[in-house]
């Protein structure tokens, strides 16, 4: 939002729409980090969101790090850092044969 007049409110990322109060937002961030961790499992990436600083931190096992503002950027950064797309329909997640 404009620092002078407070208008208009910056529309946040759509995934952040589910929480309206500060405690709900924090709870949602922790839950988001938890599910993100599950989805990044086996990709060579680790996500961290401690709730203190804005953004989601991503790191490779070799130490390459970045901070991204929202989930959309997570998947773009993950693709850049690992060289492949993380697909939730990948059978390795749910034990299917594709």
């Amino acid at each position: 939002m404009c620092a002078s007049c407070g208008y208009p409110a910056a529309p946040g990322h759509w995934t952040e729409a589910g929480a309206a109060t500060a405690p709900d937002r924090l709870r949602a961030r922790f839950r988001r980090a938890q599910v993100l961790k599950a989805m990044l499992q086996g990709s060579g990436l680790v996500a961290h969101d401690g709730g203190l600083v804005p953004g989601i931190q991503l790191a490779t096992l070799s130490g390459n790090q970045t901070i991204v503002p929202d989930l959309e950027q997570v998947w773009i950064a993950a693709e850049e850092m690992t060289g492949r797309v993380i697909d939730p329909l990948d059978p390795r997640f749910w034990g299917g044969d594709g």
Binding site: P11, A17, G18, A20, R32, L71, E79, L89
Partner: protein
């Protein structure tokens, strides 16, 4: 004045919300499908209230604007389709409109809605993407609905041989069959079945010269038409998959899962629609291809048809069982 906005950072928008964003209705449809006729009647009937109409014509010489009296304002963008070559003009015109609207002090005198009538050559999805991507328009405009007119007489032929006709239908929230008086009952029934198979998520209604009329029932036993594969079109028919979120939906997990899915498979997932109850309210979730519209807060307790806490994913190129299994895996409360 600094004003605290409920749900700040949440990207939410609802009708007459404090942020004061304006709703935009995108009106699309094939060349000659009856878009202007329908819109002219709606303007005459006052359906949209104080509305500013933006008309795009791919031809250099605008024709449609002469037909559209009744709007509070009219902008004509001629000489380029706004989904491709004229996209810059569209963004500039809408920014101007937002500027003008913001400069009206009396909120009761501001325009209430923008109707964007696209040219018959436009694919709605890139337009939605352009409006979401522009930093100014994203803060001023909320896309309310994508309405697509389908000519009852020629619709089936267009869907049979032009991938553009199919993309327009697939992007719609609401399909309006026009020119019903020009064709027989069997042709209407077959077209209805074709539209249902292309876009199972859209509501279907009918109009003649812009006036609403009842959609004829599809007689039992009517065979749906077989739409041929198109050389540069999509090979498989669209498939709707309904996923239930249970009584206590996990919005955060849904966000992670769906954002990853759209990143990985945005070309295959044509639409996602759903209503999800969250601590911030009942949220209407809608996507067009990779673009997710800011979730709108719906009034509480109006669950029509039991659609709450579920999403419908409409797309092709994936196995429904894989979608179900992945959804169950990641939206399981015990993850990880």
């Amino acid at each position: 004045m600094i004003r605290l906005i409920p749900g700040f950072g949440a990207g939410t928008a609802k009708v007459a919300e404090p942020e004061g964003r304006i709703r935009l209705t995108l009106l699309g449809g094939y060349l000659g499908s009856g878009k202007t006729t329908w819109l002219r009647h709606q303007l005459h009937a006052g359906t949209f209230g104080r509305v500013h109409v933006v008309v795009n014509e791919a031809a250099e010489i605008p024709v449609d604007d002469a037909l559209l009296g009744g709007a509070a304002g009219l902008t004509v963008l001629a000489g380029g389709c706004v989904c491709c070559t004229g996209r810059g003009d569209l963004v500039a015109a809408l920014r101007d409109l937002c500027d003008q609207r913001s400069s009206v002090a009396d909120s009761g005198a501001r325009i209430e809605r923008i109707v964007l009538e696209t040219s018959g050559l436009a694919d709605p999805a890139p337009i939605v993407a352009a409006l979401r991507a522009d930093p100014i328009l994203a803060r001023h405009i909320v896309i309310g609905e994508i309405v697509v007119a389908v000519d009852a007489a020629h619709g089936l032929a267009q869907l049979s041989d032009d991938p553009l006709g199919r993309r327009q239908v697939e992007a719609a929230d609401r399909l309006i069959l026009t020119k019903l008086d020009a064709v027989g009952a069997e042709a209407i029934a077959r077209l209805q079945l074709a539209l249902r198979s292309l876009n199972p998520g859209a509501t279907l209604s009918a109009a003649v010269m812009g006036s609403w009329m009842a959609l004829p029932e599809v007689p039992p036993g009517t065979q749906p038409p077989t739409l041929p594969l198109l050389p540069d079109g999509d090979a498989e028919p669209l498939l709707p998959v309904r996923l239930s979120l249970g009584p206590e939906p996990d919005w955060a997990a849904l966000g992670v899962w769906l954002s990853a899915l759209l990143h990985a498979r945005g070309d295959q997932i044509v639409r996602v629609k759903g209503v999800v109850q969250t601590p911030a309210g009942r949220l209407l979730l809608q996507t067009v291809r990779r673009v997710v519209q800011p979730p709108e807060i719906l009034p509480a307790g109006e669950d029509r048809g039991g659609l709450d806490n579920g999403i419908v994913v409409i797309g092709r190129g994936f196995q429904p069982q894989a979608l179900h299994a992945s959804f169950r895996h990641f939206l399981n409360p015990t993850v990880p």
